[in-house]
Symmetry: C2
Subunit: 275 residues, 2 copies
């Protein structure tokens, strides 16, 4: 559990920004393709230029897996680079894994032990016993999908039982799981109409909120509805930051964009009397 460290970081950096390193080789500046590991070179520059303005990096595993072994090397180098150079930064393996117990245990080993991420995103479709192997790691956080930011969230998450929405039922039952204190929840920024209800059920857990930026969520409204007295939220932006420029100034442009969001977050923290 690194929650206290996360809160301390937020207060000192005046930011609750997570930068998503969803790095597509076809979208990075062309001159980087001459490097031996273009994706790692891209990440290193972005990280070196933004780590003062964000408190977390989220590595979307799909974007690394897509390049096979080469991609896994870029992934390993990136997480090692962050852990070595910026050890306070909270790292998220955006993997959306989840399987029967013995398989989830292997995924936990992979992301928590081999790669040493601080947290992982988990798809909870298979329920309690698919998530608990991750929750056994008390020094790590397990971030389950609650309500996602995409259109398709209505196909399952927003179905209604007699009691509530399916995703709400899931959040409620997750509170009974062993070591549920290690849980965080993904709630999409495009779904502000549901966030206040979520907060009633889980007042204290951190929320990881994607969907500000490219996907259209509004930062101020999201914060108003989701923050708690410990801040309690991490807002992710990926494409909106890392692809700010497609030229030699890409890292500088990402930095500017990160600063711009950090400034907005600082104002929100001040207005909410949280710093």
């Amino acid at each position: 559990m690194k929650e206290l460290e996360i809160i301390n970081q937020i207060k000192s950096k005046k930011s609750f920004l997570c930068i998503g390193l969803d790095v597509d080789q076809e979208k990075i500046p062309k001159f980087l393709l001459n490097e031996s590991d273009p994706i790692f070179s891209f990440n290193k520059s972005v990280i070196d230029n933004t780590h003062m303005y964000c408190i977390a990096y989220k590595l979307n595993i799909a974007f690394y897996e897509a390049y096979g072994i080469k991609g896994w090397k870029s992934l390993e180098k990136t997480i090692n680079y962050i852990n070595t150079n910026y050890p306070n930064i909270f790292t998220i393996a955006d993997a959306k894994r989840g399987d029967i117990g013995n398989t989830s245990r292997m995924y936990a080993k992979s992301f928590f032990e081999e790669l040493n991420f601080d947290s992982i995103t988990i798809n909870p479709y298979m329920g309690r016993d698919s998530v608990e192997p991750f929750l056994e790691y008390n020094d790590k956080n397990t971030i389950i999908l609650g309500l996602t930011s995409n259109q398709g969230s209505k196909d399952l998450q927003l179905l209604k039982t007699n009691e509530d929405y399916v995703f709400m039922e899931l959040i409620k039952s997750s509170k009974t799981w062993t070591n549920s204190k290690n849980l965080m929840y993904v709630i999409g920024a495009t779904k502000t109409e549901y966030i206040e209800e979520v907060r009633k059920i889980i007042p204290n857990n951190f929320l990881l909120i994607p969907g500000v930026g490219a996907q259209g969520g509004d930062l101020n409204e999201v914060c108003k509805k989701s923050m708690n007295s410990n801040i309690g939220i991490i807002i992710n932006s990926s494409r909106g930051i890392i692809y700010s420029s497609n030229d030699v100034d890409f890292a500088e442009a990402a930095k500017k964009q990160a600063i711009s969001i950090q400034k907005q977050m600082e104002q929100i923290l001040i207005d909410s009397k949280l710093i």
Copy 2:
């Protein structure tokens, strides 16, 4: 779509067995640890000894990812070995992926293009737009989780809406997705009480059925309730076959176990007048 090929294979081999290569380095015979790639050596022997009695291999990606780059190498070597030597065999990447559209597209690229699997298992929690990028591949199958064999299936899949169980609602809506003809569905062998209802909704799609063996499902009952006139099912067994012996005779023992299941399947196919 390899369905016709699958059916032809089933009829010629008199088997609808899928062998799950969920290979844990701690469970394979100790003498293999002297090999340069113990997991690949294990897989190669199992495959060479069982390919006549099964029609598919399912590679559980977690078990490879757990060993990082080394694991990805074993994974690549295994899928290439099958594709080169036994090209008719249906291959399943048991990955349980699924994410927003642009991310799912990267996963599809990874498993369908880079690794050249015939199919992938997908977790449908995020709905239509998280699955459709996989369905775009018309020569591949996308196998979504319906009702899984584990305890935790009750936490979400078996919640009830006004209409039906959540997993049934999902199966119903999946029929409206673009290229839904490329869908197959995972239905756990421990859930026979629901299979007949599933068949009414999707009479023609193939079902991938895990949970016979180590997890306790009964082969005869499962088949009775799930087969259609094109057979329509693939039954997976992993631990029950590959860990039949922990000694130098491991591949021979896996073969014996595969033959034993194939014989039962042959009898079921004869009794059902399908061959």
